[in-house]
C-alpha cells in the first residue's frame, strides 16, 4: 500500500504582491490519513484550494497527479468528479433544508427531472448510518448541532463516491465528544480505503490519527514525516512549523512600565451561533501603562472574540467575568461605555468593521471622537478639519488631503486612519487586532513606531497577532491563548517561537 494516490509538485501560487505558495510538493499515499500542519497564513488553505480547483488550472504553476493521471481542474465540479472532496471549516450547508436534501444537493436523486423523495431519504439514511449519524433524514440542518452538521458534510462527500477527502480544521468548532467521534469515523473511512487529508492546529489530534504529516511554513514545504518511522512528537512538528524568517525590522524601544491600566478576570464568553460553546474560557489578563502586551493564538483560539467581548460586549453571549480599570471595577455594557472608560479596539477586519470606506479621511478620523469635537450635538467642522490635518501629518498618512475617500487608500494608510480615529478618543488602553495584516514592510515599520510612541505616552497596548516574530519584536510580555484559555504568560526575554507555539497548541488536559 505504498502507491501514491496524489502527487502535487512544484506548486506556486501568487496573489498580487504576495507569493502564497512557492514550489510546494505534497505526496499522499493511498489509504492513509495525511496531516498538514503550519502556522496561520502558512499557505495550507491555499494549497487545498489549488487541489480542489477553487483556483482553476492556469491560475497556479506546477503539476497535480491524481491516481497517476494529470489533473487540470477548472473548478470544484471537476475535482469532485475526479473523487476529491473538500470540507471547509465554515460548513457549506443550507440551514433550512433537510439533512437528506443537503446530502444530495446538486446531485439530486431524480427520475426524469422529478425528485424521487423515497429514494432520496432511503439513500440518505444509509449514508447517515455509515457516518454514525442518528437523526431523521428529514430533520432540518438548523436543528442539529455543529458536530452532526460536520457528519452531514462527510455523508455528502461519501454520496459523491469520494476517494480523497480533505478536511480543513474539522474539529476546531467541535467539543471533545464530537471530536473523538469524528476521529473514529476518519479511522473507519481509512479502513474502507478512503484517503484523508486533514488540516489541523490540534497537534495532539494529529499525533493520534495521522499516518504522515507535511509541514508548511511561509508558503514552502518544509518536510514530510512518517509518523511511525520517524517517531514524530509534538515538539518535532512545532520545530518545523516555527522558525519563520525574522525579516521584519523593529524600531528599538525601552519601555517605562507603570501601574496597572486594565485587568480582565475570569472572562468567559459563549458563542452566539452555537449555543453552549465556550469561545473564551476563564481568561485573565493584566495590562499595564507603558507596556506593550502580546496575545498569541492560532486561528480559532478566541483572540478576536476575547478582545471584542471586552470592548463593550461587541461579540458573544452570556459574557461573565470582571473588568478593572486602574484597579477599580468597571461595568461595560456597550461600545459607548468602553470608549468612555478609555478602551479602544482596532479591528482585524478594518474594511468591514473599522472604516466607512465611502467616506473621507476627515470624517473617519472624527467618527468615534465626535463628542470631543462638538457642543450640544453640533459638530465644529473647523476643529474637525484641524484635527484631521494634524493626524494627516503626524501619522504620515499618504493621501492628497483629508478629503480623500478612505476606500482608495492603501492598507497601511487605512490602518493609520483607524489608529488616528482611536487616538482621538484619548484611550488609556488600546487593543490592536492584527495591526499589520495586509500591510507592506515599510508601512509595518511605521505602525510599529506608532505603537511604541503610544506606549511611551503611558497607554497600555494589547497587540493580537498571528506572526510570532512580530510579537517577539514588539511586545514586552506575551500571553498565549489556546482553545479559549490563557495557556501561558511569557516575558519577552524568555520567549522563543518554539516556546510560544508549544503553549499555543496546548490542548485540553
Amino acid at each position: 500500500m505504498t502507491e501514491h494516490i496524489l502527487r502535487m509538485s512544484g506548486i506556486t501560487k501568487t496573489f498580487p504582491g504576495v507569493k502564497a505558495l512557492q514550489d510546494v510538493n505534497l505526496s499522499v499515499r493511498r489509504g492513509e490519513i495525511h496531516a498538514i500542519c503550519g502556522e496561520n497564513g502558512a499557505g495550507k488553505s491555499t494549497l487545498m484550494k489549488v487541489l480542489s480547483g477553487v483556483y482553476p488550472h492556469g491560475d497556479y504553476e506546477g503539476e497535480i497527479l491524481f491516481e497517476g493521471k494529470r489533473c487540470e481542474f477548472g473548478g470544484i465540479r471537476d475535482s469532485e468528479h475526479a473523487g476529491i472532496v473538500i470540507i471547509h471549516q465554515e460548513l457549506a450547508l443550507s440551514p433550512q433544508l433537510s439533512i437528506a436534501e443537503n446530502i444530495f444537493l446538486g446531485n439530486e436523486r431524480a427520475r426524469r427531472g422529478v425528485i424521487d423523495w423515497n429514494r432520496t431519504n432511503y439513500e440518505a439514511a444509509a449514508l447517515m448510518k455509515r457516518v454514525g449519524l442518528q437523526e431523521n433524514p428529514t430533520t432540518t440542518i438548523a436543528d442539529i448541532g455543529v458536530g452532526k452538521q460536520q457528519l452531514v458534510e462527510i455523508a455528502k462527500a461519501l454520496s459523491k463516491e469520494v476517494r480523497l477527502l480533505i478536511l480543513d480544521e474539522p474539529t476546531a468548532a467541535l467539543n471533545d465528544d464530537d471530536s473523538a467521534h469524528l476521529l473514529d469515523l476518519l479511522r473507519g473511512l481509512r479502513d474502507e480505503g478512503i484517503t484523508c487529508v486533514i488540516i489541523s492546529h490540534k497537534l495532539n489530534e494529529v499525533i493520534a490519527i495521522a499516518d504522515s504529516v507535511t509541514i508548511i511554513r511561509d508558503g514552502r514545504t518544509i518536510e514530510t514525516l512518517d509518523m511511525a518511522g520517524d517517531h514524530v512528537t509534538e515538539d518535532r512538528i512545532i520545530s518545523g512549523m516555527v522558525g519563520r524568517a525574522l525579516d521584519n525590522r523593529f524600531p528599538p524601544h525601552e519601555p517605562t512600565i507603570g501601574d496597572e491600566a486594565l485587568r480582565i478576570e475570569d472572562w468567559t464568553v459563549y458563542s452566539p451561533s452555537q449555543p453552549g460553546r465556550k469561545v473564551v474560557d476563564n481568561a485573565s489578563l493584566t495590562l499595564r501603562r507603558g507596556e506593550i502586551v502580546g496575545l498569541a493564538g492560532l486561528m480559532g483560539a478566541g483572540r478576536t472574540e476575547l478582545a471584542m467581548s471586552v470592548f463593550g460586549r461587541a461579540w458573544g453571549v452570556h459574557i461573565s467575568g470582571k473588568l478593572f480599570k486602574d484597579g477599580k471595577p468597571i461595568d461595560v455594557r456597550n461600545v459607548q461605555d468602553a470608549i468612555r472608560h478609555g478602551i479602544a479596539y482596532a479591528t482585524e477586519d478594518r474594511k468591514r468593521y473599522g472604516l466607512n470606506l465611502i467616506e473621507d479621511i476627515k470624517r473617519n478620523i472624527s467618527a468615534a471622537g465626535l463628542t470631543g469635537l462638538s457642543k450640544r450635538g453640533w459638530v465644529n467642522e473647523n476643529e474637525e478639519y484641524r484635527v484631521a490635518e494634524q493626524f494627516h501629518k503626524s501619522m504620515n498618512i499618504k493621501a492628497p488631503g483629508v478629503d480623500s475617500v478612505v476606500g482608495k487608500l492603501s492598507g497601511g494608510n487605512q490602518q493609520k486612519v483607524v489608529l488616528s480615529k482611536w487616538i482621538l478618543t484619548e484611550p488609556d488602553v488600546l487593543i490592536l487586532d492584527e495591526p499589520t495584516r495586509g500591510i507592506d514592510v515599510g508601512a509595518k515599520y511605521e505602525i510599529y513606531t506608532i505603537i511604541n510612541r503610544l506606549a511611551d505616552q503611558g497607554k497600555a497596548v494589547l497587540v493580537i497577532s498571528s506572526e510570532l516574530p512580530e510579537l517577539l519584536g514588539l511586545c514586552d510580555r506575551i500571553y498565549t491563548l489556546s482553545e479559549g484559555r490563557i495557556t501561558g504568560e511569557v516575558p519577552r526575554q524568555e520567549a522563543t517561537q518554539e516556546s510560544l507555539m508549544h503553549l499555543m497548541t496546548k490542548g485540553q488536559e
Binding site: V335, I358, R363, T371, S374
Partner: protein, 328 residues
C-alpha cells in the same frame, strides 16, 4: 482616482459627481424647454415647479434621511393621505381650528414613524416590510374616517392656502414653498453639522463599523423614521393647502415619487452617500418633466412616467459605476 478632472482644470470629488450630473441635466432640460416653447424660459416656470411640488419636496427630505441610513420608507404616501384626511375631517366635522389640527397631525405622523423605526431597530426587521405594513395601515385608516373626499372650508386655512407671496418682477410663490425651503435648509444643516447627521451617514456607510465606533446606530435609525413620519405629515398639511380637501386616494404612489427624487438626486440606495441639495434637484427634475409635457401639449401624461423610468435606469447605472469604482 478620488477626483474627476473636467477640462483639465477643475477637480470634482467623486462624491459630488451624481449631484453635478443631476444639476447639469436640470439646466439642460430647462434650456431645451426654453428653446422649444414660447414662455417657458421664465423664472415663474421654475417657481411653479416649486409651488406644485412643495409637498413632494418635504416628503423627499424625510426620505433622504431614511435612505442615507440604508433604509427605505414606503409608508410616506399613505401618511400624507392620512394627514389630509385627519385635517379635513377635524376642521369640517367638530370645527377644530387649524392651529390645533396641524400640530396634532404632525404628532400623529411622527408617532407612526417612531413606531416603525422602533420595530425596525428592536426586532431587526427589514425596513421594507415594516414600512409596507405601515403603508397599508395608514391607507386603511383613511377609509375608516371616510370614503369620500372631504372639502376644507375653514376660513383661516383657505385664506392661508390662497395667499400669494409676491417677489420682484411679477414672480410669486405660495407659503408652502417657504415652508418647504425652511425644511430643506434646516434638514441640510442637521445632516451636515450635527452628530446626529454624522451618525446617519456612518450607519448607512457601514453599520458594523459604526457600531464598533460606538455610534448610537439604533437611536439614529429610530430617529430617521420619526423624521420621515414628521415630514410626511407636514407634506400632508401642504397637500391639503394645495388641494383644499382630504381624501383617502390623495398621494397614491407618492412614496415611489419620493424615492425616485432621492435616487435621481444622487443618494446611494445602499446608504452613506448623498446630499439634500441633490434631493431638491431630483424633485425639480421630476417637476420639470411634467411641465415640459404640459407645454408639449400633444403628449399624454403617462409620458411623465416613461421619462422618469428612463431617468431612474440611467441614475442607477451611474451609481453602480460610482460604487464599483470606490470599492477598488
Amino acid at each position: 482616482m478620488s477626483t474627476l478632472t473636467l477640462g483639465g482644470r477643475t477637480a470634482v470629488p467623486a462624491k459630488y459627481l451624481p449631484v453635478l450630473v443631476t444639476g447639469c441635466l436640470f439646466v439642460a432640460m430647462f434650456a431645451v424647454g426654453g428653446f422649444r416653447y414660447e414662455g417657458f424660459a421664465s423664472g415663474q416656470v421654475i417657481l411653479n415647479v416649486f409651488i406644485d411640488n412643495a409637498f413632494l419636496l418635504v416628503v423627499a427630505v424625510g426620505m433622504t434621511f431614511v435612505i442615507l441610513t440604508g433604509g427605505i420608507d414606503l409608508s410616506v404616501g399613505s401618511v400624507v393621505a392620512l394627514s389630509t384626511m385627519i385635517s379635513a375631517s377635524l376642521m369640517e366635522g367638530p370645527g377644530w381650528p387649524p392651529y390645533l389640527v396641524i400640530p396634532l397631525v404632525l404628532a400623529i405622523g411622527s408617532g407612526l414613524g417612531l413606531v416603525m423605526g422602533y420595530i425596525v431597530h428592536a426586532f431587526d426587521i427589514q425596513p421594507f416590510i415594516v414600512t409596507l405594513a405601515g403603508m397599508f395601515l395608514a391607507r386603511g385608516l383613511c377609509y375608516t374616517i371616510g370614503t369620500d373626499s372631504i372639502p376644507i372650508r375653514d376660513p383661516t386655512f383657505t385664506a392661508f392656502a390662497q395667499t400669494r407671496i409676491d417677489l420682484f418682477a411679477d414672480l410669486w410663490i405660495s407659503p408652502s414653498v417657504v415652508i418647504a425651503v425652511v425644511v430643506v435648509v434646516v434638514a441640510a444643516y442637521v445632516l451636515h453639522y450635527t452628530r446626529f447627521g454624522r451618525s446617519v451617514y456612518a450607519a448607512g456607510g457601514s453599520e458594523q463599523s459604526a457600531l464598533l465606533m460606538g455610534l448610537p446606530v439604533g437611536r439614529t435609525k429610530i430617529t430617521v423614521y420619526t423624521v420621515s413620519g414628521f415630514c410626511s405629515a407636514l407634506g400632508g398639511v401642504l397637500l391639503s393647502f394645495y388641494m383644499l380637501s382630504g381624501y383617502g386616494l390623495h398621494a397614491a404612489g407618492m412614496e415611489l415619487d419620493a424615492i425616485a427624487a432621492v435616487v435621481i438626486g444622487g443618494t446611494l440606495l445602499t446608504g452613506g452617500s448623498g446630499f439634500l441639495f441633490g434631493t431638491v434637484l431630483g424633485v425639480l427634475v421630476l417637476g420639470l418633466i411634467q411641465t415640459i409635457i404640459i407645454f408639449e401639449g400633444t403628449l399624454l401624461s403617462w409620458w411623465t412616467k416613461i421619462f422618469i423610468g428612463m431617468l431612474l435606469f440611467v441614475f442607477i447605472l451611474l451609481q453602480r459605476l460610482f460604487s464599483a469604482r470606490s470599492r477598488r
